[in-house]
């Protein structure tokens, strides 16, 4: 019943040459204690690289390394264009001069450089936020911009600006609170008989629409100057960002992205379903809470400075996943793709109707809208 059954279950005909181990030739005498462990490392094959860390090892997919290098090159290239482009093109010499301080240029170092850095930093944060929520909802449409978290964070920021006339620190705080309240609202509305990703997405879309209407009303009722500032920001914009605007977001996002990186393995373990997650030792409720905080924190921090930049969080994780050919929705490819996407979109926004610089959110919405339609069609077909 036990060992004698094994010859039937072996199928030498389909075994790849070279994969047969000495012990399997004669299953009747097989002893589990004498198995030869195969040479190939666990995460296997040639598509992974083994990075030894002491007596342990860390496995990295070759595709991921290629993606990191590719995205780094793209960021450098786009960054260089971003530093050069303006009302007049700067020469490469001028850009290098400004960067090294040999040939100081306020325009390049104080105006264009923070904008390039903001594109990278905010893009990465939005990509990670999207990947987190798509993992949590197990749905490619469950990203913060679609389910109303951007809009909610913006409501928080608007309330602080218009009602309390707050400074940037309090605006950021209001933005985080707005995002969290919206997350709680969407979560509680969609929670009945357990949580379904699609249900959450549909309710999130409705909540998003309602909050966007509320935001418009808030802007209409605001003082003229505040309203003008708020509208310029309404669709998400990197116009006029300077280094001072980036200090707080940089600090906050560094912490949040570190937490996300440290918890990413647990996030991916949860993708196996609640039952396996719990039975393999994931503290599910705590993990979810933490991930929601990180995701909302990333979204709200970006929104507090740049307004609601839609569709990066939606598209970056899915593009990154395909480029990295990694299982599930990995965070690093989402961050890298998000950074490149936002940088690219911001350049397009600056160039499209030059010398007028469009809000970057207009560009991301235009491109992302098409992608969302395609995604919805896919989702409907799947059901």
């Amino acid at each position: 019943m036990t060992d004698t059954q094994q010859p039937d279950t072996q199928n030498p005909g389909t075994q790849k040459p070279g994969t047969q181990k000495p012990g399997t030739q004669n299953p009747g005498t097989q002893n589990p204690d004498t198995y030869d462990v195969r040479e190939t490392p666990v995460s296997g094959r040639t598509s992974t690289v083994r990075v030894p860390v002491g007596d342990r090892a860390w496995f990295v997919q070759r595709r991921t390394i290629t993606l990191v290098l590719g995205c780094a090159a793209a960021m450098l290239g786009l960054g260089f264009v971003g530093l050069s482009y303006g009302t007049s093109w700067a020469t490469p010499g001028e850009v290098f001069g400004a960067l090294t301080g040999l040939e100081p240029s306020v325009v390049i170092a104080e105006w264009r450089a923070p904008r390039v850095v903001a594109g990278i930093l905010f893009g990465a944060a939005l990509g990670v936020a999207g990947a987190i929520f798509q993992n949590l909802t197990r749905n490619p449409m469950g990203s913060p911009d679609i389910i109303g978290l951007d809009a909610g964070a913006y409501t928080g920021a608007l309330l602080v600006m218009t009602v309390f006339a707050g400074a940037s620190m309090t605006v950021a705080f209001g933005s985080v609170v707005g995002g969290l309240v919206t997350a709680a609202l969407v979560y509680s509305l969609s929670r009945s008989n357990g949580l379904s990703g699609m249900r959450l997405v549909v309710i999130g879309i409705a909540v998003n629409a309602m909050i966007t209407a509320l935001n418009n009303w808030l802007v209409l009722r605001a003082e003229l100057e505040v309203a003008m500032a708020a509208v310029g920001w309404n669709s998400g914009s990197l116009n006029g960002i300077d280094w001072d605007d980036l200090i707080l977001p940089f600090a906050v996002l560094s912490v949040l992205l570190t937490v996300a990186a440290l918890r990413s393995q647990t996030l991916h373990q949860s993708a196996l379903g609640d039952a396996i997650a719990v039975s393999t030792g994931v503290p599910l409720e705590r993990q979810r809470m933490l991930m929601v905080l990180v995701g909302v924190g990333c979204t709200a921090t970006v929104t507090a400075v740049a307004g609601p930049v839609a569709f990066i969080a939606l598209a970056a994780p899915q593009i990154g996943r395909r480029l990295a050919k990694a299982p599930g929705i990995p965070l690093l490819p989402a961050a890298l793709t998000g950074a490149v996407l936002l940088q690219l979109a911001d350049l397009i926004a600056q160039m499209l109707l030059a010398p007028v610089s469009l809000p970057v959110g207009v560009v991301t919405t235009a491109i992302g809208g098409g992608y969302l339609i395609w995604l919805l069609a896919q989702e409907v077909r799947r059901r």
Binding site: R38, S43, W58, L262, Q265, Q269, L272, I276, T280
Partner: protein, 257 residues
């Protein structure tokens, strides 16, 4: 018979719906325990309570006389492995990557791999016979292959206990027997196996300890030869039947009238 894992007077419910009241069960160590019973009798619920997916309203589920709720999450996961009915395979995951996920409770925050991790995954894939398609995406496999991959994943968890919720459902008869034979082999290697099984005859044939449940309580338990008779089948399944000896294994075989 020694017992490390047991449920004592537990009340199990999903919200308002009470499934079991004052249910007790001792799981014999090193044995193959099969839980049988009609749909909705609380078999799966009991399994879920053992692995802490469901917290009992009253009573305790304990391992080594310590409530399972007192264990740190990963520490319990190094003792009990569970294969649910509806696990999710992330899109694009390969067999090897999925099996490797079984090592989660043995790893630290940074997911660094030890030689032990690598060995456990290799052995699990070998035991569950999934090496031939180790680098293929799980989504491309047949139902029988996929189920073996999930078994390999819980084996990689390297726990003394294996709990499986209807592992043979949706498998053809050949794969059902292959899987049950594999579970028996694991029992022979010293693991404790607890499986919810649909087929009473398979349960009689493979299990050392049979637990028949009805309406959230244990109707009978013991060796199949001792507990299975026409009266029990009538009581538990409401099915008139004749019990004969299985011509191959000699264990009781239920033939409905």
């Amino acid at each position: 018979m020694t017992t490390r894992l047991s449920a004592r007077d537990v009340t199990l419910s999903y919200g308002e719906r009470v499934v079991s009241t004052r249910l007790s069960l001792d799981v014999p160590d090193g044995a193959f325990t099969a839980v049988v019973g009609p749909n909705g009798c609380g078999k799966s619920t009991l399994l879920r309570a053992f692995v802490r997916l469901l917290k009992p309203g009253e009573g305790t589920v304990s391992l080594d006389s310590r409530s399972v709720t007192d264990f740190p999450a990963k520490a319990l996961a190094r003792e009990l492995a569970f294969l649910p009915q509806d696990p999710l395979a992330p899109e694009g995951i390969t067999v090897r990557q999925l099996v490797a996920r079984g090592r989660y409770p043995h790893q630290s925050l940074l997911a660094l791999w030890t030689a032990g991790d690598e060995r456990a995954v290799a052995e699990a894939m070998d035991t569950a016979e999934v090496e031939d398609f180790a680098d293929r995406p799980v989504a491309e496999l047949s139902g029988g292959q996929r189920q073996r991959v999930w078994v390999a994943m819980v084996l990689a968890q390297d726990t003394p206990y294996l709990l499986l919720d209807e592992p043979t459902s949706f498998l053809d008869i050949t794969h059902q027997y292959r899987l049950l034979a594999l579970l028996s082999r694991l029992r022979d290697e010293g693991r404790t196996v607890i499986a919810v099984l649909h087929d009473i005859n398979q349960a009689c044939r493979f299990a050392d300890h049979l637990v028949a449940m009805k309406d959230g309580r244990v109707a009978a338990e013991g060796a199949a030869a001792d507990v299975v008779d026409a009266a029990l089948i009538k009581d538990v399944f409401d099915l008139p039947s004749v019990i004969v000896a299985d011509p191959v294994s000699g264990t009781p075989m239920v033939v409905p009238e």
